[in-house]
């Protein structure tokens, strides 16, 4: 077991606590990392803020993708005055290895940084160990234990971390269902099963994922744009890759200025599709449907989380929200673990439910 492995699971008892100013600066660093200019994909999204002992911000930076400066170096370069004695707030533990750029630990030491506070340890064994190196160099180090900061950092990095461990993209599947499991009425109409709050979340999901995936059936029937839009219909700054997969015929996705690139994958095999997307740098995929595609990913055991928007309505007829799973008897049912449950109230309308679930047997 390498030293990095040991450190990753052992609490650092020598670490100090963080101040309120540091936590505020870490939130700012997370904002920098989450901004649209920071590409998703195979590199972690990282932000960095340099704080003077009196609380002034001396510099800020972010990592803009493979081959560009890491966030720490970007922040050091942005500083217009001296940074000796400053504190660096970084969303991810500084790297300690020679990749396409030099180790950030060295850059921070060279600049005379006195203290480094991170929101998340680096789970990548190749790059980890940065905090130990810094501490051994006499720099004060801390990992924030603020639950809100931890959650934000985890959320921002989870596609990248999933890729490190599983060598395939993280898969979120989303379904909109009536209480009786219908995706549409008998005549095929489905707008809208769910209310505005549920539909807004779909655009949030599209914005935070690297790619949105639909089957050829959905491409044919719904002619979706697959863009992340604001409530007023305008495009958001970050847009996912738009993917239609399957062997059936399907129209090309509309070409829209500001929309993500469109991709056609001529396979109905979820594993093959994910392999292709992973090779393209995609780390988080949103499977939007329809029922056949969702069923294919569920059957293949390739759904990491399922978000169900459940409308408190009944249709009694119409297409099922989930296609055939190859299940014929009750004991073979696909059980899911309910991770989160909350109502999505609609003004003057029914309250949809949002369920976050994970397949139980994986």
């Amino acid at each position: 077991m390498s030293r990095a492995d040991t450190e990753a699971t052992t609490p650092c008892t020598t670490m100090s606590c963080t101040t309120e100013a540091e936590r505020a600066a870490l939130h700012h660093a997370l904002d920098l990392a989450a901004a649209p200019g920071v590409p998703a994909g195979p590199n972690p999204r990282v932000g960095c803020v340099l704080l003077a002992p009196d609380g002034r911000i001396l510099g800020e930076g972010r990592h803009r993708g493979a081959g560009t400066a890491h966030a720490e170096v970007d922040a050091l370069r942005s500083a217009t005055g001296p940074v000796r004695g400053a504190t660096a707030l970084v969303t991810l533990e500084p790297c300690d290895h020679h990749g396409r750029t030099g180790p950030c630990t060295q850059a921070l030491r060279d600049a005379g940084i006195a203290r480094v506070v991170v929101a998340r340890r680096d789970p990548n064994p190749v790059a980890a160990g940065g905090l130990d190196t810094l501490r051994e160099a006499g720099i004060d180090v801390a990992v924030s234990e603020d639950p809100q900061l931890t959650a934000r950092a985890e959320e921002l990095l989870r596609g990248w971390e999933h890729g490190l461990v599983h060598h395939r993209p993280l898969v979120t599947a989303k379904l909109a269902l009536t209480l009786d499991g219908r995706a549409a009425a008998a005549d095929g109409t489905s707008r809208w099963i769910t209310g505005p709050a549920a539909r807004a979340e779909v655009h949030d999901l599209r914005e935070c994922c690297d790619a949105v995936l639909v089957g050829t059936g959905t491409a044919r029937l719904d002619a979706p744009q697959l863009t992340a839009r604001h409530e007023d219909g305008t495009l958001r700054a970050r847009q996912p890759l738009r993917v239609v997969m399957g062997e059936g015929e399907a129209p090309a996705l509309p070409t829209l200025p500001g929309a993500g690139e469109a991709l056609r994958l001529r396979t109905r095999d979820p594993e093959a599709a994910l392999e292709d997307l992973f090779d393209r740098g995609i780390r988080h995929v949103l499977v939007e449907g329809g029922p056949t595609l969702a069923a294919a990913f569920l059957t293949a055991g390739l759904v990491d989380e399922l978000i169900v928007h459940l409308a408190p309505s009944l249709l009694g007829a119409g297409p099922a929200g989930i296609g055939d799973l190859g299940i014929t008897t009750i004991t073979d049912r696909l059980d899911l673990e309910l991770r989160d449950l909350r109502p999505l109230p609609t003004p003057d309308g029914p309250t949809d439910l949002r369920l976050l679930l994970q397949p139980r047997t994986r």
Copy 2:
């Protein structure tokens, strides 16, 4: 407008507060009214406790059905010593009319009762006005404002009160569904879609309703007992009338010692069935299924509340949990108001959800 109507909606500002001993005695009176010996049906379930000024219980009573003594008179008769100056705690406002028995207000006055505390006003205009009569006779009166007592009294009396207003039984429908709206797997197996907590609630519902209703399809396929059972399988003390309705063929319900009477209604019309049951004294019906019967009641607008036990499982195929509602397009969907939502955790198993809903347009 009669005096009774005015009183029912006007707050009684002259009323005094209740003591802790009185609230405890009211809970006891509710226990008496809810006990298996008190029949459900066309008469309200009422209990009464007589409390001495020093807190001793002097007597207790309950109403055992049409033609028998009211709870107040039953309590007065049960007292072995003098009750002059005592407080009467009654779950429902004492009646003020000459029915098959004399007015309870008179009986309480004659006995020298000094104070009367009730959990619920009488919504029946024929019998109401008891508190006013008592107050005019110089007896101190109070209505408990304790929310727990109010809720218990409402729960106990709601079938009876519904009958007064709507002249048909209150209808609770219950469905057990997977997340994709299935009532069973493709081979027809359905045991068990939901966990023990959901199944225990079904027995609670059977115990508190006057009648349990299934369609001929369910009677054929599931051969249900329709008894209210404890967890160990033994019968509970209170059992509902067991009803199979529909025009199809169905086997007779099993004859079981201790089970409720079995009834066969040869109609598929929910309104006709409810009229028949109301005439038999039934005030609260539990519609247990199957999908066709539930759909018939929903389509007829005759479901007052819908309880859905939603299992976080997927089947992808199998019979739908709700039959055809005659809905063909999305804008005609049947919207429900979500009144309550709670998880029903299963040890080492998936957590079912319990949804309490009411149809929106009634």
